[in-house]
Amino acid sequence: MSMAKELFIETKKHRRRFNILIFALVIMAEMLFIYGNYHGKTDPSEGWMFLFYNIPIMNCMFFSVAIAGFASRLMDIEHKGEMLKCLYTFSTSRRIFFAKYLYGAISIFVLVIMQCGSILACCRMLGFDSSFPTRYLVIHGVTTFIICMTLLSVQLPLAFFFRNQALSISIGIMGSFISFFSLFLPESFVQKLIPWAAFVTSGFTRLDWNPDTRVSRFYVENPDCFPVIICICWIILSTVLTLILLEKSGVEESEKRVSCKRNDKIILHRLPVEFLKLKGSPAWIAFFIVPSISAAIGTINYLANISILKDGWYSLWTQHTLFLCYFFMPVIIGIFAGCIWRVEHCGTNMNLLMTHQKPAITVLGKYAATCFITSISLIWVMALYLISGSIIHMDGKLPSGLLLWLVMGIVGSWTICAFQVLVSLVIKNFVLPIILAFLGGFAGLACIAKGIPYLTPFSLFDLAMNQRELGAADVSLFAFSSVIFITVFIMAAILYLSHVDVRTNE
């Protein structure tokens, strides 16, 4: 069978999967973000430089996640229907993989074309001068394409070789976070080695900010080819690795049979049923590791900027919770809620569940489990804060409202839990709800920035945990908004589960 035919089959498989539509939505989200934040704030003559400066930063977050999700969708269809067993009888693993890779490359090409179009559209929308040299658009397009292909080369093998798609999506999200944060650190050699950061490090627009006059000015310099070359090396490296692995791969049982010790007696577990179903799943680990990482980064950041951060314990808290609230916590809640529903979405388990338990009990059980682990995690955040504060011998008194912050943070996180429990119930795909949580973190940030923090669950959580705005927070309005969100999401989930036909064999 020729490669062209394989590719044709691949496009057939993705009928009604709306992959391009998802890419279009990503582009739309970026455009909205630009329009919402910078409308009428930039000098039209250097507007195009402004776009070439800001779009790569957003690509660093949005494209990374979009491509991780896309790669996992490419493979998910095979894993779900156990199709690899069948495909291996028609074709070789190498052909199957590269047909997908090629299909991915074509889709990414479309994505990049859409982005170039969106830059021109943004110019028109924001009233910028669009008569900039075309070569910049071409350079931007080519580098973006190469970087996207690098990410695909990393993500697709992960999605291919590991049935559990949580791994590939987690690596994608982690990569984008690491590169995003690295942008706030001084430019370094290491940063240029990270493929996710290459969107920005390969850029040709620079920002010159004068701290005395507080005026920022964009300027163009020669594009830095080094990150692009590194990316090409990544592509080659991952392709070689993939080829070696494909050579050895075959369809095997997902886990080798392990002979386990036999018990003659039946010993019952004491765990609540929702936790029993997650036995052996590593989903909960993130709730303890991620806050630890965040605390470490926060403490280091605090020590590095001690000259600016003069509020002692209070400043340390803001450093600890900044990234955790906006980005990490929504995503790990999303992953946990995804795992907790995934066990039911598998095979015909929904039949089993629905004939044995009331929908309300099911939803509340899963919600309670998610809230429980999230609350423990937030208490852990507080403990880490106190520990690291005492390690660095922080002076002064603890902030008086600490306990209130924690309680509000927990209530705020419960609204996110409710949202994710609903979304993961309705969307059977594992990855999409996590991407929604990721985008939710941004929406929360935007709502906080716009001064409307009571409008989304994500901004409620940010409001409670990150204390920059808490002085202005209205506790009763906060409580009211939280109760409304939790009630609406949980009721919607119960109604959905009670009245919608049970669908299996998706």
Binding site: E255, K261, N263, H269, V273, G347, T348, N349, H356, D501
Partner: protein, 239 residues
Amino acid sequence: MIKYVTETCGLCKSGGKGYRVKDVNLAVPKGCVYGFLGPNGAGKTTTMKLLLGLIQPDSGTIEVLGQKMSPKTRFEINSRTGSLIETPGFYGHLTGQENLEIITRYKNLGVDDIKEALNTVHLYDRKDDKVKNYSLGMKQRLGIAMALMGKPELIILDEPTNGLDPAGIKEIRNLIQSIPERYDSTVIISSHLLSEVEQMADYVGIINKGQMLYQGRLSEIETADTSLEEVFLDMTKGV
């Protein structure tokens, strides 16, 4: 007068372009083994899902164990039934015993019920293995064990002998035949294996392309010179 445990009236469910099930009037007498026959895609599974309230009918009514089926009563009715629909549902990363344990939590049963269920389907030796490592037949046995737990009044089994070896098929056949007496329950079993149903069922219902073609005692359909197979093929070929 015969007492029915399950009765449907004008049951319809559309799907895609046409009807998956159309005007089905099912009547299952208490204490019998009811064989539900039909070719692949005839609407057997859809009907069984409707009986369990897993999907909602477009029109028609369903009465199970004396109660009208609706999203509100579904749980109450299902707490008195046991079922195995399509392929068995299970949590692959858990052991067989842990899977049954989840069912005992739902149904408020105890250790003895797990033990009995494991022994009934001969999985006691493999109870500490993860279910994803079970063979197809063992998964099927586990599914049957789940359906039988708690001795429900109505047991609905969708092609229960799928994937079983000949000895297993015979075992399950004997088991199903003994259920009405042992548990004082009624069994609805769907199959396209005519010989199986012929040996187990007291009543049969034949469905094709979503419509009921025949319902009644097995003894009435089979005469001296025609077998169930001949009748079945005759009924389903022309429609």
